[in-house]
């Protein structure tokens, strides 16, 4: 897929790179037609930081204002020097469109990082392709901006072989659910101890506005001028169906909720799936406004919390179980009270299925929070436990003995 963000138009500045020896004058093999005769010296590449494209640095979206934070804590190494949000920012200009929801998510993650207590060098961000997948360039940690849909595969190889690293996957609705759908479900079922942040904006942004696998049916886009006929995925239901051990949903415009959700995702040992509603103000502006904007938020959202009844709209409404169906009830009318509502249990898979299925339904709110959490052995633990077990039983491998194994005979 094209990765066609505009090129910078700045003048190069900074250190002039020296050519590696032999590049300008490669040795030509003594053959009739040499392999690489570069026509003269390759032009010197410019170095240094490009000038900023016009309007590349927008003002922060309103939601990115710093919330009040709890004191630093975390479960990482205890000898880590105290880092600040700035330590996790790179010198790269952030190139998302002004007003993009990605800015708020980046700010939230950068703010969360120092509190987790994981050293920068132990943290790795892996992404695929798409607007959201530019994320690693802006995190001053190790990182890889890989290829479309494949971030979970690279993260799997990295985490499986390096369990000591703290691996984050950044992906989008097209990247994770369309081209990379297969890898997503397998990452979740294997349960590697990683965090997967799916920025869902219900549109293809980087390719300039085609419908995505989460776009609502009937959506008019550049590729669907008469309306999309595709049935959309519910990412939370997909993750639950793939036996994910941690499934949550949050939004770009509620940084407090987002930060808390990400902290819990990080605390969880296993694959943590976090869907983040993210506004694409260019190609799909306002897709989630009914959930994120003040006027409608309380009516249309249900913030689920472990051990608490499912109530919303400032306590005026709740959710009860009617057999195997969820029903919205009026808590102000006198016939129902909070005690009639379902008390949420994030370790109850069946409940997670029911609540996770609240999606594009009339008269029902959209749930946010942690849907499901389960302790299950991680892939990398099983892998290394097995290897260690075999080593203990058979002894560490001896190469000479291996080569000499089986039926052998000697010729003198």
């Amino acid at each position: 897929m094209a990765d066609n963000i505009q090129s910078d138009n700045g003048k190069p500045k900074g250190v002039k790179p020296t050519l590696p020896p032999g590049v300008a004058k490669p040795k030509v093999p003594g053959a009739a037609k040499p392999a690489m005769p570069p026509a003269g010296k390759p032009a010197m590449p410019p170095a240094g930081k490009p000038a900023m494209p016009p309007a590349a640095k927008p003002s922060m979206p309103p939601a990115a204002k710093a919330p009040v934070l709890p004191p630093p804590g975390g479960d990482g190494d205890s000898v880590v020097p105290m880092l600040s949000r700035k330590d996790f920012a790179t010198d790269q200009d952030v190139r998302w469109c002004p007003g993009c929801g990605d800015y708020a998510i980046l700010a939230t993650v950068q703010r969360l990082m120092p509190e987790l207590g994981v050293p920068k060098e132990k943290t790795v961000f892996i992404s695929g392709i798409g607007c959201s997948s530019r994320f690693p360039y802006y995190m001053n940690t190790y990182g890889m901006h890989s290829i479309h849909g494949r971030a979970p595969t690279i993260a799997t190889g990295l985490k499986a072989s390096r369990p000591d690293l703290d691996v984050w996957i950044i992906t989008g609705d097209g990247d994770a659910l369309s081209i990379g759908g297969n890898h997503l479900i397998h990452l979740l079922r294997r349960n590697l101890n990683v965090q997967l942040l799916l920025f869902n904006n219900q549109i293809y942004g980087l390719t300039k506005g085609q419908y995505s696998p989460t776009s609502e049916q009937g959506k008019i886009t550049k590729s669907t001028p008469y309306g999309s006929i595709d049935h959309p995925f519910n990412p939370v239901a997909v993750a639950l169906g793939a036996d994910a051990t941690f499934v949550a949903r949050s939004m770009d415009r509620d940084p407090k909720h987002l930060q808390e959700t990400l902290r819990r995702a990080h605390e969880h040992k296993g694959a943590s799936f976090v869907e983040i509603y993210q506004n694409c103000n260019i190609f799909n502006d306002g897709a989630f406004f009914s959930f994120t904007e003040k006027a409608t938020k309380s009516k249309s959202t249900l913030f689920i919390e472990h051990g608490k009844p499912l109530v919303y709209e400032n306590g005026k409404k709740g959710i009860r179980l009617d057999g195997l169906k969820l029903e919205a009830i009026d808590l102000d009318g006198g016939s129902w009270s909070a005690s009639d509502c379902v008390v949420y249990d994030e370790t109850n898979r069946e409940l997670a299925y029911l609540v996770g299925r609240l999606f594009w339904q009339q008269e029902m709110p959209r749930p946010f929070g942690v849907f499901y959490r389960e302790e299950r052995a991680t892939y990398e633990d099983l892998l290394h436990t097995q290897i260690e077990g075999i080593r203990e039983k058979r002894g560490a491998g001896d190469l000479a003995r291996l080569l000499n194994s089986g039926e052998t005979w000697t010729i003198s």
């Binding site: 590049v23 570069p38 190889g157 000499n404 089986g406």
Partner: protein, 601 residues
């Protein structure tokens, strides 16, 4: 049938004959018995002299049913011996094989020596006191045939006995039946008077040393483990099951005590992606597959080109395109390996030339990948992957070690500040530093977008892009500096040079030897390195007048050579899912020297 073949091979290796094998089986697991497309065969060539190929024509064919006879008769030379299971030549068996009349009775086999054996009947008779059902009994008849063949060629029976004892340790009924039958077959040879001759093949004069029999896929796995051990890099093998590469996974997964991590991924792309992830983390990342899987991996291989991470991709080639001929051999992925990616994405490509050579090729692929921080494609094929040969066990201490040389500290001072530039290059190899996550102070980001020279930052600059494309190409060309001088089989100069690569080495050199005995001035070279090509090829070509390029494809190396050298390379192609016969190449040598046009053979 494949098991029977393997057991006979092992006995032959232990009798110290040199040998080469050609297993030949259908893609279907339980293809309908008795049909021509369901025939599973195993060809073995052994002798007291050096054996380079599985043989052009066979001296002895064991045909378990009419279909096997029909499919393989053309391989038997006139006056050759055919042992048939006469019980299978009933009406139904003949009909399934498409015989209108019984070839055992209609005189069509008069040019051969046919030895009918009532294999089914004898098997049933021998096992009548065993508590086995009819199906189990009939399935055992291969053991009778194995025992008979072992007797006929004076092979030791012990290796097969050991194998049966081990394989059926938990099923004493089956074990005893098989042992009984094996002995019955052996004794049948002795007591029946059908066999006028019993053969004794003297041990071959192989180079002194300790030997074992080895399959190509097994050697590939051992080569990877050896590279891991010698470099100190843990081996991570990401793969998806595919014929004929799966045996590498089977072998590696048995050796986890070497710290080998095997990852059976959800698909081919995930397999290579995980290997790249492991490489990024500082492991020896390897993926293995065959043609269709290669096609799927290519975008990710391009990522490894761009991120300049070590990665080894093993392609055990098979007949293509598409699903093609999964169990048949072919050399048709060469152009895919050299050119098959989007953009300018050169990488080193090397090829293994025999089952045992797979070990050294795998080791070499790892060494290049780690030293030059580049993906390397290693080409094997179904013929050498499934085939086996006696293997002089290498001395572990003689393997040239290589080191990952991980980056541990900043490598440039910019404005008085120490910085780490992830694309600053080694002067000799042009390799970039390999900084493992977890190394403090070297945090950096890599990815598939074009890199700015030295800093590795994303760059859309036109001049930088052109420079980087040429720089990556030059890095791959630098590998030529470590290619040893090309060995010439035959004289250093002459009339004709035969140029081959991969699994055709045995056939080509055997044909060259025969032609030289007839006084023809022909030599051959066999390429381990195809990208980059060895630097001394030009000077070798200058010493010959004609050039013949035999390949098991429609002409691929020949195009690469023509692209580099303006010389009249004559292709000789076979695309039949089978290796070259020595006499085919010998004929091609004669034809090219007779001046006939290339198309005439």
């Amino acid at each position: 049938m494949q098991l029977t073949g393997s057991q006979f091979t092992l006995a032959t290796a232990i009798a110290r004959n040199d040998l080469a094998t050609l297993p030949d089986f259908p893609a279907e697991i339980r293809a309908p018995a008795g049909t021509t497309y369901g025939v599973s065969g195993f060809q073995l060539h052994f002798g007291s002299v050096e054996i380079r190929t599985p043989g052009d024509e066979v001296d002895l064919l064991v045909a378990m049913n009419p279909a096997a006879l029909k499919v393989n008769l053309s391989r038997v030379h006139l006056q050759g011996t055919i042992i048939v299971n006469v019980d299978a030549f009933d009406e139904r068996g003949l009909e399934l094989a498409g015989y209108k009349s019984n070839p055992l009775e209609d005189g069509s086999l008069h040019a051969y020596r046919v030895i009918p054996v009532e294999l089914t009947k004898l098997t049933r008779e021998a096992l009548k006191d065993f508590d086995l059902n009819q199906k189990e009994i009939d399935r055992s008849k291969n053991m009778f045939a194995l025992g008979l063949a072992l007797w006929l060629y004076s092979r030791p029976i012990e290796p097969a006995t050991d194998w049966i004892n081990q394989k059926f340790a938990k099923k004493p009924q089956i074990r005893d039946a098989n042992l009984h039958l094996l002995n019955k077959g052996y004794h049948y040879g002795e007591t029946t008077e059908q066999f006028v001759a019993r053969y004794e093949v003297q041990p071959a004069q192989l180079a002194p040393g300790k030997y074992r029999a080895i399959h190509g896929t097994e050697a590939l796995a051992l080569g990877l483990i050896a590279a891991s051990s010698k470099s100190g890099l843990p081996l991570f093998y990401g793969t998806y099951p595919i014929t004929p590469a799966s045996d590498i996974l089977h072998e590696l997964s048995r050796h986890k005590n070497f710290g080998v991590m095997t990852f059976q991924a959800e698909d081919e792309i995930a397999a290579v992606g995980a290997a790249i992830g492991a490489s990024f983390g500082g492991q020896l990342g390897v993926t293995g597959t065959s043609g269709p899987g290669m096609a799927l991996k290519m975008e990710a291989i391009g990522l490894a080109v761009m991120t300049e991470l070590p990665l080894v991709i093993v392609d055990v080639q098979r007949g293509g395109p598409s699903t093609g001929l999964p169990t048949k051999t072919e050399q048709s992925d060469l152009l895919q390996a050299v050119y098959g990616r989007n953009g300018e994405a050169p990488l080193p490509v090397i090829a293994a030339n025999s089952p045992g050579d797979c070990f050294y090729a795998a080791y070499e692929a790892c060494r290049i990948a780690v030293t030059y921080r580049t993906p390397v494609i290693l080409l094997a094929d179904g013929y050498i992957g499934n085939g086996s040969e006696p293997w002089l066990i290498p001395d572990v201490n003689a393997l040239e070690p290589f080191k990952p040389n991980f980056a541990e500290k900043p490598n440039r001072i910019v404005d008085g500040k120490e910085e780490f530039l992830p694309y600053l290059r080694d002067e000799e190899t042009l390799a970039r530093p390999w900084a493992r996550p977890g190394t403090p102070g070297l945090e950096h980001r890599i990815g598939g977008l074009e890199k700015q020279h030295e800093t590795g930052a994303v760059s859309y600059d036109a001049d930088n892009h052109e420079f980087m494309v040429k720089l990556r190409a030059e890095k791959v060309e630098r590998v030529a500096r470590i290619i040893p001088p090309t060995e010439i089989h035959g004289d250093d100069s002459g009339e004709l040079l035969v140029i081959g690569w991969g699994s055709t080495k045995g056939s080509i050199e055997a044909a060259v030897d025969r032609a030289r005995k007839r006084g023809i001035k022909v030599s051959s070279i066999h390429l381990r390195h195809i990208s980059p090509l060895p630097p001394d090829l030009g000077s070798i070509f200058n010493r010959f007048e004609h050039y013949l390029v035999p390949e098991l494809n429609n002409g691929q190396l020949v195009r690469i050579l023509r692209d580099r050298f303006l010389l009249p390379f004559v292709p000789y192609n076979k695309i039949k899912g089978a290796p070259f016969r020595t006499n085919e190449i010998e004929r091609a040598i004669d034809t090219v020297l007779s001046g006939a046009p290339a198309h005439s053979y």
